[in-house]
């Protein structure tokens, strides 16, 4: 008489702990990480010991070491950027604006840019920094 082969699949049982671990890792990365945003050029912000955390819901201005600008990860010439910011601030005066300036950018260049922003109506600015290890 022929009985069907009912022996359990050994490989699947051995693989179950692996799947458990992989699922845990997956859930960890999904919850703990935030997706990186692609920036039009590389910006390495300065390192700082300050404690104030960054809230992501702000308008982000990128300023590269060579002086290029980007608004919300789109490359934009400075004049246009200032015009856009000026409109934004006029429409919603409490818009939070974060400046992600490269650590290697000459500080004078950044200060001059903040003066331009002041004339565009921006009163306070957040300078993004990386927490010191």
């Amino acid at each position: 008489m022929h009985f069907p082969d009912r022996r359990p699949d050994q490989t699947e049982e051995r693989i179950l702990p692996l799947i458990n671990v992989v699922f845990l890792l997956l859930i960890f990365f999904m919850i703990a990480g935030s997706l990186t945003v692609t920036e039009p050029f590389e910006v390495t912000p300065p390192v700082s010991q300050t404690q104030a955390p960054h809230e992501p819901d702000t308008v982000m201005i990128l300023m590269a070491a060579e002086g290029q600008f980007a608004l919300d990860n789109v490359s934009i010439p400075e004049a246009e950027l200032v015009a856009r910011i000026s409109e934004l601030v006029k429409a919603a005066p409490d818009t939070r604006i974060t400046l992600k300036a490269d650590g290697e950018l000459p500080a004078n260049s950044m200060v001059r840019f903040t003066q331009v922003l002041y004339e565009a109506g921006v009163k306070t600015l957040r300078l993004l920094a990386e927490a010191e290890a």
Partner: protein, 152 residues
Amino acid sequence: MLAPFSAPAKLAAKQARRKTVISLTPLIDVVFILLVFFMLASSFLDWRVLSMDTSAAGPAAPTDLEDFVVRVQGDDVLVDGAAVSLDQLTLQLTARQPADQPVSLLALGDTTVQQVVRVLDRLDAAGIQPLKVVDDPSWSASGSGAPADALP
């Protein structure tokens, strides 16, 4: 809707058996792909912000108090032309008279944002207020990097 009930018993049994036989391999494939995606796309950088008020260029509203000017040149900090350490600077500034005299950080030449932030951090941690970052009027962007102000 009625199909499962009206189907022959033999077929139903066959379907049930096939369900248990589904291999885990495709599932693992998908989960691995998701895992690798999230591992590569996640960022765990710890961002901080320094709040600053923007200010107009040139001398602000005239006050009777003159700013205590701290010049930052590269990694050096100069007070009245003499290099001081960050510790000495903090002491000098906490002892300044009057205690609410504004402190201006002036970056000389091509001093970078990082070098200014380092001094700023230190003074901020020492509770020195009010603190300003001002530009060097004689500075102008040089080299290939298009200066912010030179764009049309």
